[in-house]
C-alpha cells in the first residue's frame, strides 16, 4: 500500500524518470498507430471498394490478424532487424524506432479491417450519389475516408489501446533498456519480476489513467467535429 502511494507521489511530484517513461510510451504507441493509420486507412478503403481475385480470403486473413499475439510480432520483427537478419544493416534493433515498427505491424490489421468495414458500409450509402457524379476511384477513397473521419478516430483509438497495452513486442525488440527503451508496460513487467508489486500496480494505474486521458481527448475532438460538421 505504501509503495502504491509512493508511485502516486512520483506522479504528483513530477519524477523525471517516470515522466520520461510515460513520454516514451506515448511517443512509441501514438507514432505506431499514426503509421498504421497512414497505411491502413487507404488500404482498408481499397479493399472495401475494389473487387479483385482473392479478396474474400484477404478479408478473412485481415480479420484474423486483428488477434496477432504481440510476442509473435515482436519475435518476427526481432529476427528481421537483428544484425544477423535481413535488415540488420539498419542497426535499429533495441531502439524506439524498432518498437514503433513492431507496434505499427501489430496494429495495422485492426486499423485496416475496421476501416474496410466502415468504408464498405458507407459506400452502400454513397454509391448512387458518387457514381452519378462520376467520381473516380481515387476520389471515392478520399471522399469516403473524409466523411468517415469520426468513425476513423474511434478506430485509431482502438489501435492505440492495443498498442499502449502490449508488452511482448516492445520488450523483445526494445530490450527494456533503462532510460532508452523502457515503456510503462515493460517497466511494470520489470518491477513485478523484482517483486515490487505495489509499485508495479501504481505504474499500472498511471498507464490506465493515461489511456483514459487519450480517449477523453479524442472524444472531445469527435464531439467538437460532429457539432461543426454534422
Amino acid at each position: 500500500m505504501t509503495e502504491g502511494v509512493s508511485a502516486l507521489e512520483l506522479v504528483l511530484g513530477g519524477d523525471s524518470k517516470l515522466y520520461s517513461i510515460v513520454w516514451l510510451s506515448l511517443y512509441v504507441s501514438l507514432s505506431a498507430v499514426a503509421l498504421a493509420a497512414l497505411i491502413g486507412f487507404p488500404l482498408g478503403a481499397l479493399i472495401a471498394l475494389i473487387r479483385f481475385p482473392g479478396r474474400s480470403l484477404l478479408v478473412v486473413v485481415l480479420n484474423a490478424f486483428m488477434g496477432l499475439p504481440p510476442v509473435v510480432v515482436g519475435l518476427v520483427v526481432f529476427l528481421l532487424l537483428s544484425r544477423s537478419g535481413p535488415l540488420g544493416s539498419l542497426g535499429i534493433l533495441f531502439t524506439p524506432r524498432a518498437m514503433i515498427i513492431a507496434q505499427a505491424l501489430l496494429v495495422l490489421p485492426i486499423i485496416a479491417a475496421l476501416a474496410r468495414q466502415t468504408i464498405e458500409d458507407l459506400w452502400d450509402e454513397y454509391r448512387d450519389e458518387l457514381t452519378a457524379m462520376r467520381i473516380g476511384p481515387a476520389g471515392r477513397i478520399a471522399t469516403l475516408l473524409w466523411d468517415a473521419r469520426f468513425s476513423l478516430v474511434t478506430i485509431f483509438l482502438a489501435g492505440f489501446g492495443r498498442a499502449a497495452a502490449e508488452v511482448g513486442a516492445v520488450m523483445i525488440v526494445g530490450g527494456n533498456i533503462d532510460g532508452f527503451t523502457r515503456t510503462m508496460t515493460t517497466a511494470i513487467a520489470l518491477e513485478t519480476s523484482k517483486g515490487d508489486l505495489p509499485f508495479a500496480m501504481g505504474l499500472g494505474v498511471v498507464l490506465i489513467t493515461l489511456v483514459i486521458l487519450v480517449n477523453a481527448f479524442a472524444w472531445g475532438v469527435r464531439r467538437y467535429g460532429e457539432l461543426r460538421a454534422g
Binding site: E125, Y126, D128, E129, T131, A132, M133, R134, I135, G139, T143, W146, D147, R149, R228, A229, G230
Partner: protein
C-alpha cells in the same frame, strides 16, 4: 472550337433489364427528345426508377441498348441526377455544392458560383450549416443545387418529393420549372399525378416494366390511349 456533343435524344432500343429470373424492364423502345419535361408515371414497381437509372447510365441494359445523342457509350458528364433520398456529404451545404462543382472533368470554376447555386435553390442563408442537419426539404433542394452545379444538359429526378411536405414539394417543383425554363431537359419519375399534370410536357406511362403509353401531356391526361392509363388516371389499382 466545336459545340460539345449532346446527350439528346436519349433512345432506348428494345432495352430490357433483368435481375436473375425477374424482368424489371421489358423491351423498352422510347426516345426522350429535347424540350419540355418528360414525366414518368406508373404504379409502384412498374420500373420507373430502373428506367431513370438506365437513362442516367448508372446501370446497363441486360439486352437491347441505350443511345445518348446516337452514341452507345460516353462519360455521362452532361447528365446529373437527384435521388428520392439524397445523401449529404458530411460537411457544410456550401461545401457540398463546391464538391459537386469540382467533380466535373472541366473545372472552369467561376468565383461566386457556389453562392449563385445556393441562391437559386433558396439556401443562401444556410450555406454554412452542416448539410446533414438540414431538413428533408432543404436537403433535397441542396441535392438539386449539387446536380445543377454539374451544368447538366439532362437532369434526372427519381420521385424527389415523395417524402416531402407540400411546402417543400412546391419549392422543389419551382426549382425544376425554373431549370426547365433555362433549357435543361428534365426527366422525372413521380407517383403524384397532380405533380405530373403541373410539370409534364410529355408523359411516359409504364406498367409492369412495359412501356404502355408515351404521349404529350394534354392528350395523356384528357384522353389516354390505353385502358390501363385510363384506369390509372381514375385512381384504380392497375395490376
Amino acid at each position: 472550337m466545336h459545340a460539345p456533343l449532346s446527350d439528346l435524344p436519349i433512345s432506348f432500343d428494345t432495352a430490357s433489364v433483368r435481375a436473375g429470373a425477374v424482368t424489371i424492364l421489358d423491351r423498352i423502345s422510347l426516345a426522350i427528345a429535347p424540350g419540355a419535361p418528360t414525366l414518368l408515371v406508373g404504379p409502384n414497381g412498374s420500373g420507373k426508377s430502373t428506367l431513370i437509372r438506365l437513362g442516367m447510365g448508372l446501370i446497363e441494359a441486360t439486352s437491347g441498348r441505350v443511345l445518348w445523342g446516337g452514341r452507345t457509350r460516353d462519360n455521362g458528364e452532361r447528365r446529373a441526377m437527384v435521388f428520392q433520398r439524397p445523401v449529404m456529404l458530411r460537411r457544410t451545404a456550401a461545401a457540398n455544392v463546391a464538391y459537386a462543382l469540382s467533380s466535373r472533368s472541366t473545372h472552369t470554376q467561376r468565383p461566386g458560383r457556389v453562392e449563385e447555386l445556393l441562391n437559386a435553390v433558396g439556401l443562401a442563408n444556410l450555406a454554412q450549416r452542416p448539410a446533414r442537419r438540414l431538413s428533408g426539404g432543404e436537403q433535397q433542394r441542396l441535392a438539386l443545387a449539387r446536380a445543377l452545379a454539374r451544368d447538366p444538359e439532362v437532369l434526372f429526378l427519381d420521385e424527389p418529393t415523395a417524402s416531402l411536405d407540400p411546402a417543400s414539394t412546391k419549392a422543389v417543383e419551382d426549382i425544376v420549372r425554373a431549370t426547365a425554363a433555362a433549357g435543361v431537359k428534365i426527366v422525372m419519375a413521380t407517383h403524384d399525378l397532380g405533380q405530373a399534370k403541373r410539370l409534364a410536357g410529355d408523359v411516359v406511362f409504364l406498367v409492369r416494366g412495359r412501356l404502355a403509353e408515351h404521349s404529350p401531356a394534354d392528350r395523356f391526361f384528357i384522353s389516354p390511349a390505353t385502358t390501363e392509363a385510363a384506369a390509372f388516371l381514375r385512381g384504380d389499382l392497375v395490376i
